[in-house]
């Protein structure tokens, strides 16, 4: 489903990603961990082309973007639609209700009929447990509820892959569970997901593979049991001992 080849990203002088290679099979859940500043967010943003990689290649589904040459601008929106992005601070549209937030993509981007989209959006909001809050504005919702709207908004575009960047780290502890539950349901339905998170229990339970990134390279990867119980690399051990 996802193939990343030798991906580099540089901000001016700062090399953030230094040759990432990654293959994610359809329906797999990948959890990305790593210290602050290691490039986790940048990696996700490159997958969504919110950040344009300096070089390398990304293949998602059957679409290829090769950043070694100039990527034509018109290719980017359709490529972006393959992935749904969930942001750390939700980034809901504050001037729209939950329902309107979810409907916005299908109506404006895909040009679908409002009536059909509305039904779909209501079902999606029901699925994330917000069937009774569809007409609330973001400011009327808790952080956990807002993040679930964010997930529904991304799902409404029917992406092939869902990307989560620390979806629960802005939440009060008691609200984390409800968001993780929605993500687990999604995983069980067979969605391909790449998740940056510090929720190690979630990673153990839901991840097919855990990837440890440090200094812009993948240092270690493996099954969650292996990474968490018997990390091979010294840097992984050090990082895990710091957070556990």
């Amino acid at each position: 489903m996802i193939k990343i080849k030798d991906l580099h990203k540089q901000f001016d002088q700062l090399k953030v990603l230094k040759g990432i290679n990654l293959y994610v099979a359809k329906g797999k859940v990948i959890v990305v961990i790593g210290p602050s500043g290691s490039g986790k967010t940048t990696l996700l943003r490159c997958l969504n082309v919110l950040e344009e990689p300096t070089s390398g290649q990304i293949v998602i589904d059957d679409q290829v973007l090769d950043f070694s040459q100039q990527v034509p601008k018109r290719k980017i929106p359709s490529f972006r639609r393959l992935t749904g992005m969930v942001f750390q601070n939700y980034n809901l549209f504050p001037h729209m209700t939950a329902l309107e937030n979810v409907m916005e993509g299908p109506v404006t981007v895909k040009g679908e009929k409002k009536e059909t989209v509305r039904k779909k959006a209501e079902i999606l909001l029901g699925k994330v447990g917000l069937g009774d809050k569809i007409n609330y504005y973001p400011f009327q919702l808790s952080g956990g509820q807002q993040q679930r709207v964010g997930i529904a908004r991304a799902l409404a575009m029917e992406p092939k892959v869902m990307l989560f960047d620390e979806p629960t780290s802005a939440l009060d502890p008691e609200l984390v569970g409800e968001v993780l539950k929605v993500m687990k349901d999604l995983a069980n339905e067979g969605m391909t997901m790449v998740i940056v998170t510090h929720e190690m229990r979630f990673a153990r339970e839901a991840a097919d593979e855990v990837i440890f990134i440090d200094g812009g390279v993948i240092v270690e990867r493996g099954k969650p049991e292996q990474i968490f119980s018997a990390p091979k690399e010294a840097r992984t051990q050090q990082f895990l001992s710091l957070i556990q």
């Binding site: 919110l50 504050p94 001037h95 400011f139």
Partner: protein, 236 residues
């Protein structure tokens, strides 16, 4: 002088009734001037100016260097020169090179250009005040630059810019009095003309001032209503 003026009001009943008569008879032409010229001049110039302002604001935040430079020069030139001088250039200056424009359209052009420059700064600042995450959220669901701008950014920016734009609008109402200098017979010019025949300058200019004040007062009420409506999606 002040004493003489006030004294005459108490001791000279004929003068008082003359003032009342002038006040009454000049009220209608002044109001007419407001309705036929001041208000339309304000409204048309504001709408045209706003359109210009949005274009200029977008040009200034665009990645196109040429657009940036053109819009930048426009804004700087208009903000850096007096409105009265701009009006004089359009009405008295342009005929020198064969461009002759009537007073009213001249005023419209001058005020629109002026509003365009000032409002573009307001709109630009409002657009820049919307968090980057909003653009990214728009892009992440596949929206283009234009779609994100229209559906996500401008609606939020308009809320931010309503108070300063209202101030621009109210200033414009008052600035239209400058059109009297290029022969538009708007309210203030009428006050000048009437006063020139009967020498009651204080009375006539006070009357004009009162009408400006009333218009601006009503506008500030409308402004409050609009702000309340646009505030519905933010917590108090």
């Amino acid at each position: 002088m002040v004493k003489m003026y006030l004294n005459s009001l108490f001791t000279d009943p004929e003068r008082v009734s003359r003032l009342i008569e002038i006040g009454r008879s000049s009220f209608q032409p002044l109001l007419e001037g407001a309705i036929i010229y001041t208000i339309p001049l304000t409204l048309i110039s504001f709408v045209c100016g706003l359109a210009l302002a949005i274009l200029a604001a977008l040009a200034r935040i665009s990645s196109n260097k040429l657009e940036q430079i053109i819009a930048g020069i426009y804004v700087s030139a208009i903000r850096g020169t007096p409105l009265l001088v701009q009006l004089f250039i359009i009405f008295y200056g342009l005929p020198t090179i064969g461009i002759i424009i009537d007073p009213f359209p001249s005023a419209i052009i001058g005020f629109s250009l002026n509003v365009g420059a000032y409002a573009s700064e307001i709109i630009r600042a409002a657009i820049l005040s919307i968090p980057k995450g909003q653009w990214e959220a728009g892009y992440s669901i596949g929206m283009s630059y234009r779609q994100t701008l229209k559906r996500i950014i401008l609606p939020q920016a308009s809320r931010v810019s309503i108070p300063p734009l209202s101030n621009t609008f109210i200033s414009l109402v008052k600035d239209t009095s400058l059109a009297s200098m290029i022969l538009v017979t708007e309210m203030f010019r009428r006050a000048q003309e009437i006063a020139a025949t009967n020498y009651e300058f204080l009375l006539l200019y006070m009357q004009a001032a009162l009408i400006y004040w009333i218009i601006c007062f009503l506008l500030s009420i409308v402004q409050g209503r609009i702000e309340n409506r646009l505030d519905r999606y933010v917590s108090s």
